[in-house]
C-alpha cells in the first residue's frame, strides 16, 4: 500500500532527526572563530584567527520519536501502532534538517578592534505538519467522517552561500560585534500558505479539500501534475554565486565580561532575507475540490476514463513565474559562561525562527581541559526532548585546535526513542 510507504518515509525522517544546530560547543570555543558564529562580539584571542573547514549536520523533530508511533510484535518486527498514534497530542510538529559547511573564516585583531571575513554554504529544511495528517495516514479516513482535518504540510527549504565581513570592538569589558552578510541563494522551496483542509463528508463520504496552498520555488521544485513532481537538489554548489537570488543579512552581538570567571552575551544572527529571482515559480491551489465518485454515464460513454485520472485532476494547481522573498532562518541567543580552573561551564538559550515554526532550546554544558585535550558534556532541553545528552572533544595542538561534538548519545543505541541527533566538527587555528 502506498500509504504505508508514505508513512514509512515520515518515520525515517523522524528517526534520523536532529533539530537545531547545537551552538553550545561553538560557545565553548571562546576566543576562537567558531565562537563568533554564536555571537560576533565574543572577542578573538589572537592576532590571526583562522577556521579551516567546519561542518554541522543534523536532522530532528520537535515531535515524535519512532517509539511514539510504533510497537514490536513478539517476533521483533516493528509495526505502526495505531493505538499509539491515536494518543499523539493534537497540534503542529516540525521536522528540521540543517547542514552548514564553513569553508574558510578569518579574523584579524588589532588591539581592541578585530575584523572578520568568511564564506559558508548553508542549507536547511524545515517542515511543519499537523497531528491530523499522521492520524489520517495511520487510521485511514474512516474514523474522521464529518470531521475536518488539517493536512497541509508546510515546508521551507533554503540553500545559499554566504560571504561576510565583520568587526568587533572591545570597550573595557564590553565587546560589540557585527557581521554583514551577502547571500546568494542556490535553491528554495517555500510554502507561503499551507492551508489544506480535508473532510470526509457525512452524506456518502465525498472527499473534500479546501485549499489555500501556495508554494514557491527557485531552482528546486518542478510541478507538472500531482504524479509528476521533480525535486532537483544539487547539494554544495556555487550556483548563482554573485548573479542571482541575492540577499542580505546581519549578525549583531554584545558580550560583557563581568569578572574573570563570568561573562554573559546576547546575539541576533542571520537577520535578513533573500530575493529569489532565478527561475522563480509559484504553484497555487485555491478553492474547494470535492471527489464525489464516478458518474456512471461518463464511464459508459468513455471506456478510457480512469478513477485515478479523475482523482489526480481533482485538485487544480496553477503555475506562474513570479519573484519572491524569504527570510533566512534567524537565531536569538543569550548565553553565560563560568570559568573555574580547568573547568568551564556554559548555559545557552536559543530562539530559532523559521518560516515554519519558532523553537526554543536551552543548553547546559560543562567542559574539562586535561593537558591538550578538552572534554565536554552537553545537555539540551527542547520541546519533546528531555534526554538529549551530547559529548564534545577538542584537541589543542597549538596553533591548531580540532573539535568534534555529537549529541543525543543516550539514544545512540535506541534510535527509536531519539528525536534529535547531529554532529559537528572543525579545525581552527590561531597565531
Amino acid at each position: 500500500m502506498k500509504i504505508r510507504w508514505l508513512f514509512f518515509g515520515l518515520i525515517v525522517m523522524l528517526a534520523f532527526g536532529q533539530g537545531l544546530a547545537q551552538y553550545a560547543p561553538y560557545y565553548h570555543l571562546k576566543g576562537y572563530i567558531p565562537a563568533t558564529w554564536v555571537n560576533p562580539a565574543i572577542p578573538l584571542n589572537n592576532t590571526v584567527n583562522i577556521n579551516l573547514t567546519g561542518v554541522f549536520a543534523g536532522l530532528g523533530t520537535d515531535g515524535l520519536a519512532i517509539s511514539d508511533l510504533s510497537s514490536k510484535t513478539e517476533s521483533g518486527s516493528r509495526y505502526l501502532d495505531i493505538k499509539k498514534i491515536n494518543q499523539i497530542k493534537n497540534g503542529n510538529y516540525s521536522l528540521n534538517f540543517e547542514n552548514d559547511i564553513r569553508t574558510l573564516d578569518l579574523g584579524i585583531k588589532f588591539g581592541s578592534l578585530a575584523f572578520m571575513a568568511g564564506h559558508g554554504f548553508r542549507s536547511s529544511v524545515n517542515m511543519g505538519y499537523n497531528s491530523d495528517l499522521i492520524k489520517l495516514l495511520a487510521n485511514g479516513n474512516g474514523p474522521y467522517i464529518g470531521k475536518t482535518l488539517e493536512i497541509g504540510p508546510s515546508v521551507n527549504v533554503t540553500a545559499y552561500n554566504e560571504l561576510y565581513l565583520g568587526a568587533q570592538a572591545q570597550i573595557s569589558d564590553l565587546s560589540l560585534g557585527v557581521k554583514a552578510k551577502l547571500l546568494y541563494g542556490v535553491s528554495s522551496i517555500y510554502s507561503e500558505s499551507s492551508k489544506m483542509q480535508f473532510t470526509t463528508l457525512d452524506e456518502y463520504y465525498q472527499l473534500q479539500f479546501v485549499n489555500e496552498y501556495v508554494i514557491r520555488s527557485s531552482n528546486l521544485l518542478r510541478y507538472r501534475a500531482l504524479d509528476d513532481i521533480t525535486i532537483n537538489y544539487s547539494g554544495f554548489t556555487f550556483d548563482n554565486f554573485f548573479y542571482n537570488n541575492r540577499g542580505l543579512a546581519v549578525d549583531v552581538g554584545i558580550h560583557y565580561k563581568i569578572n574573570d570567571q563570568i561573562s554573559i552575551s546576547a546575539s541576533a544572527l542571520d537577520i535578513g532575507k533573500i530575493n529569489w529571482d532565478f527561475s522563480p515559480r509559484k504553484y497555487e491551489s485555491k478553492g474547494t475540490f470535492t471527489f464525489e465518485g464516478v458518474d456512471i454515464i461518463n464511464f459508459i460513454q468513455d471506456s478510457t476514463l480512469r478513477v485515478q485520472d479523475t482523482l489526480l485532476s481533482l485538485i487544480e494547481v496553477t503555475t506562474a513565474s513570479e519573484k519572491y522573498s524569504t527570510s533566512v532562518n534567524s537565531r536569538y541567543l543569550i548565553g553565560g559562561s563560568y570559568e573555574m580552573d580547568s573547568w568551564s561551564f556554559r548555559v545557552l538559550y536559543q530562539l530559532y525562527c523559521s518560516e515554519i515554526q519558532n523553537q526554543h532550546q536551552l543548553s547546559l554544558s560543562a567542559f574539562k581541559s586535561i593537558s591538550f585535550l578538552d572534554f565536554g558534556l552537553l545537555y539540551t532541553l527542547q520541546r519533546n526532548d528531555l534526554s538529549n545528552v551530547g559529548i564534545y572533544t577538542g584537541i589543542k595542538l597549538k596553533p591548531i585546535q580540532l573539535y568534534v561534538s555529537a549529541n543525543n548519545i543516550i539514544n545512540l543505541f535506541s534510535y527509536e526513542k531519539a528525536t534529535n541527533t547531529g554532529v559537528l566538527a572543525g579545525l581552527t587555528l590561531q597565531f
Partner: protein, 509 residues
C-alpha cells in the same frame, strides 16, 4: 517523484544513523500488522435524467423532446433512399443510331416507357461514323435541330478523306454535348446532314451512324415511367417490454409514422401491403386503418419548384387506426411491407421532372409519446456475473442515496443465483428497495425528488457466499401514480433517477 542528489544532503544523517542504528533493516518491513484500517470513499454519483438518457441510446432508438420537455421514444425502421438513377439510370449506347438519309428522325428511347420533352445532357459524348464510296474527299455538315445550347443549334463539320482505298470509313472525334439541351417530342432526334464533293456536288452517304457510350442528364422532363420501390421486410424492435413479467401499460398515443422527403417532381404515393404488430407472447395483429386499404399521397415539387424538397409526414395513430389497442398489448415488433409508387397512375400525359440531384427518402418509425400509465409492472432481467476475490477487505458498508423524480413508485430487488438458479442471497432486505413516487403538482408534473437512504452490509462471510453466485436476477417494479384509474401522466426530460453510493471499508492484512 524523482529526488536527485538528495543523498548528498542526507549523507551526514545517514552517517549518524549507521552509528546508532543497528536494527534498522526491519524498518522497511513496517506495516500495520493485524490492525484494521478504515477507508470511507465515494464510489458513484450519477443522476440519470430522461434528457441525459438520450445520450446513451444507440442505433435505431432515439428519445425526442417537445419544446416543453415532454419525452417521446422513437424506434426507427429501415430508411428507403433513392436518387435519380433509380428513376432514370444512365442510358447505355448499345447500338449506334442509324442516320438513313440526309434528313432522318431517330427514336432515341422507346416511347412505351418514357416520353421525354426536355433533356439536358451531362458528361455525354457522341461521335459519327460514316462511309463513302467515292474516290475523293467529302465535306460534311451534320446538324441536329432539337439540340441547342445558348441559342445555338448543334452543327458539326468534318471531312471524309479519300486514301486510295474504298470504301472509305471515317469516325469523327468524340464531341461533348455536356450542357446541351434536347427539346423533343416522343423521344425523336432529327439528324440533317449535307455531304458535298470538292466540286460542290451533293451526295448521300452510303452509311451514317451516331454513337454514344452513355447518356446522362442534368435534367429530364416528361413522363418518366412507373416505378415501384419496396419498403419492406424489416422489423422495428420495440424492446420496451422485453423484460416484462406482469402488469399493464397504457400509452395514450403510440404512432407509426411515415416521413417522406421528395425532391423528384413526380407523383409518389404509398401502398401498404402489410403492417403488423407482434406482442411479446407472439400474437400478431394487423394494423387496421383506411390508409392501409387506400394509399397516402406524398407531396412533390412542381415544374416551377425544381430543386425544392417536399416533406410529407403521416401517422397511423389512435384516430385513424387501431394502433393504441394493439400496441398496448406489449408490442415487441412491428413488421411492415410497403411500396413507394412513382407515377402510380401510369398516366403518360402527366409531365414531371428529375434532376441529377433529385432524391426521395422514406422513413418508417414507431413513436411512443411517454404519456400514459403503468400499472404494477414487474420486469426481470438476469445477468451473468463473476465477483472478484477481494484481498484484505474484512467488511464493507455501502451507503446508497437514491432519488426519484418520476411520478412512479419504484421497487428493486437483486437475487444472487447459483448455477442451478437457486437464490443464494438477496441484496436488499424484505421486499427490496422501495422508493415512493414523487408528488405531482396541479399541472400533473413532479417538482421535488423523493430520496431514500439505504445501508448494505457485507462482511467477509457474506461476500464469500455471494461470490458463489454465477448470475444475478434484477427485479423491478413500477407503478405510476393513480395507474389503477388509468391516469395518464407525461414523462418529462428533467425527470431523473439519482444514485449516490459511498462505502466504508475495513482493511486488514
Amino acid at each position: 517523484m524523482n529526488i536527485r542528489n538528495l543523498k548528498k544532503a542526507m549523507f551526514p544523517a545517514i552517517v549518524l544513523l549507521l552509528i546508532g542504528c543497528y536494527d534498522t533493516d526491519n524498518l522497511q518491513e513496517w506495516d500495520f500488522n493485524d490492525q484494521e484500517y478504515d477507508l470511507a470513499i465515494p464510489i458513484v454519483n450519477t443522476k440519470v435524467s430522461v434528457f441525459r438518457l438520450n445520450e446513451l441510446v444507440e442505433g435505431k432508438v432515439a428519445i425526442k423532446f417537445e419544446p416543453d420537455g415532454k419525452a417521446i421514444i422513437a424506434y426507427n425502421g429501415e430508411v428507403l433512399r433513392k436518387n435519380s438513377a433509380a428513376i432514370f439510370p444512365p442510358y447505355p449506347g448499345v447500338t449506334p443510331l442509324p442516320i438513313t438519309d440526309t434528313i432522318a428522325q431517330v427514336e432515341i428511347m422507346p416511347i412505351q416507357k418514357v416520353n421525354i420533352h426536355t433533356a439536358i445532357f451531362k458528361e455525354t459524348k457522341i461521335n459519327f461514323t460514316v462511309e463513302n464510296n467515292l474516290t475523293e474527299d467529302l465535306y460534311v455538315v451534320m446538324t441536329i435541330p432539337e439540340l441547342t445550347k445558348d441559342g445555338q443549334t448543334f452543327v458539326k463539320n468534318f471531312t471524309i478523306p479519300y486514301k486510295n482505298t474504298l470504301p472509305v470509313t471515317y469516325q469523327t472525334e468524340d464531341i461533348s454535348v455536356d450542357g446541351w439541351s434536347l427539346k423533343t417530342n416522343r423521344n425523336i432526334m432529327t439528324f440533317h446532314y449535307q455531304a458535298v464533293t470538292s466540286t460542290g456536288q451533293k451526295v448521300k452517304l452510303d452509311k451514317a451512324f451516331m454513337n454514344f457510350d452513355l447518356i446522362k442528364f442534368y435534367y429530364l422532363e416528361g413522363y418518366l415511367g412507373h416505378h415501384d420501390f419496396p419498403v419492406d421486410g424489416n422489423f422495428i424492435n420495440i424492446g420496451l417490454f422485453d423484460f416484462w413479467k406482469s402488469g399493464t401499460f397504457d400509452f395514450e398515443d403510440p404512432k407509426i409514422t411515415l416521413s417522406v422527403e421528395n425532391a423528384f417532381g413526380l407523383p409518389v404515393h404509398s401502398k401498404v401491403n402489410k403492417l403488423e404488430l407482434t406482442s411479446i407472447t407472439g400474437n400478431t395483429v394487423r394494423l387496421e386503418s383506411p390508409f392501409v386499404d387506400a394509399w397516402i399521397d406524398f407531396l412533390y415539387p412542381g415544374l416551377d419548384e425544381v430543386g425544392k424538397v417536399k416533406t410529407t409526414n403521416f401517422d397511423f395513430n389512435k384516430n385513424n387506426s387501431n394502433i393504441r389497442q394493439i400496441f398496448n398489448e406489449k408490442t415487441k415488433t412491428i413488421t411492415y411491407d410497403m411500396s413507394a409508387l412513382v407515377n402510380p397512375e401510369k398516366d403518360t400525359t402527366k409531365t414531371g421532372f428529375i434532376t441529377d440531384q433529385s432524391y426521395f427518402i422514406v422513413r418508417v418509425a414507431a413513436e411512443i409519446p411517454l404519456y400514459g400509465s403503468v400499472n404494477q409492472l414487474v420486469v426481470e432481467d438476469t445477468i451473468d456475473i463473476e465477483l472478484p476475490e477481494v484481498d484484505y477487505v474484512t467488511s464493507a458498508e455501502l451507503k446508497a442515496i437514491i432519488s426519484n423524480d418520476f411520478p412512479a413508485q419504484i421497487k428493486t430487488q437483486v437475487h444472487f443465483l447459483d448455477d442451478n438458479n437457486h437464490v443464494i442471497d438477496i441484496l436488499f432486505d424484505d421486499e427490496g428497495l422501495d422508493i415512493t413516487a414523487a408528488a405531482l403538482n396541479n399541472n400533473s408534473q413532479t417538482t421535488t425528488s423523493v430520496e431514500k437512504t439505504v445501508f448494505l452490509n457485507f462482511d467477509r462471510d457474506r461476500y464469500e457466499k455471494v461470490r458463489k453466485a454465477s448470475k444475478i436476477a434484477i427485479i423491478g417494479y413500477l407503478n405510476t401514480t393513480n395507474s389503477d384509474q388509468k391516469r395518464s401522466l407525461w414523462i418529462y426530460d428533467s425527470y431523473s433517477l439519482g444514485l449516490k453510493l459511498g462505502a466504508k471499508i475495513k482493511i486488514k492484512k
